[in-house]
């Protein structure tokens, strides 16, 4: 187990492994997104309460799930980086941040677009939207801190500490915002709360969710490969690959 872990941790092996996996993952991702979209837009029935507007769920919910998931991945990688000084973990955290921030932005804007027909306003201080907004702030802070350092090693370590502090705080923030929300709007209608979802509506949702996840993984792996190539530009294995023209 540990040897396997070690092998993967070597940037060279990771580069190779990602190279093999990427085309497959990208293909599955594309198929899932296309089929999920088709089934979500054409096959899934109309919601009797929200009409056609509920179809925003097919982009809003996967984006919201990914916004949380990517932050957890970042924090997990940060912990690994701080404990085992594993460079790969830092690279994964680094390239994940902008993708996670983009998903958070999407969850916010599609939530707002959904909120307009449902609540009648573009922005409601709904607990989930507010938490999502704070999550965006956390992503912004992480990226700002990382780019503020000239030294890459210091930046990596400082950002890792911040990611861990952030992930510990996320449940607390979520709880406090939920508490605040029920306190100030006792009669709020959270339309995002578990709509009684039919199986034919659920299947495309799950397909889109897995598709989004693969989309993240594909982009993360590819970006990590680029960063590895940049950092290892002077090593023998990279020069070897350059010579053989198979980067």
């Amino acid at each position: 187990m540990f040897r396997w872990f070690h092998k993967l941790a070597s940037l060279k092996n990771f580069y190779r492994l990602a190279e093999i996996l990427l085309p497959w993952l990208a293909a599955i991702c594309a198929i899932l997104l296309v089929v999920g979209l088709y089934r979500g837009l054409f096959v899934a029935p109309t919601d009797y309460e929200q009409g056609e507007s509920y179809r925003i769920i097919y982009v809003h919910v996967p984006a919201a799930w990914m916004s949380m998931f990517v932050y957890v991945v970042m924090a997990f990688c940060s912990a690994i980086f701080l404990v085992w000084k594993m460079k790969l973990a830092d690279i994964v955290a680094e390239v994940s941040a902008p993708i996670g921030a983009a998903f958070t932005f999407l969850a916010l804007s599609t939530g707002s677009l959904w909120g307009k027909p449902m609540w009648g306003t573009w922005w409601e201080w709904d607990a989930r939207l507010t938490s999502e907004l704070i999550l965006l702030f956390l992503y912004i802070g992480y990226m700002a801190l990382r780019s503020a350092f000239d030294n890459r090693r210091t930046a990596a370590k400082a950002a890792a500490v911040l990611a861990l502090v952030g992930v510990v705080n996320i449940p607390i923030i979520h709880f406090s915002v939920e508490w605040w929300n029920t306190l100030h709007q006792p009669a709020s209608i959270t339309k995002f709360d578990k709509p009684s979802i039919h199986i034919s509506m659920l299947i495309p949702l799950l397909m889109m969710a897995v598709g989004f996840k693969l989309f993240y993984i594909v982009n993360m792996l590819s970006r990590a490969r680029s960063v590895i190539l940049e950092r290892e530009a002077n090593t023998a294995w990279v020069t070897e690959r350059v010579k053989e023209n198979r980067l």
């Binding site: 009409g51 989309f215 002077n234």
Partner: protein, 61 residues
Amino acid sequence: MKEFFAMGGYAFYVWTSFGLTFMVMAIIALGTRLQRRRVVAAVTRRAQTESKPDAREPFRE
């Protein structure tokens, strides 16, 4: 078909959501590609200019 695009009167919200999502995803994917292209070009260029192994710079952090 027309009915489909009207989305029961919610066309603007539904299509803006989907459009925005896929625009942002396209930007992410494009960013990934551009980064890859830039790095590959830089590494190749470097390998060509530094064909002599002695001239190679030490690894910079």
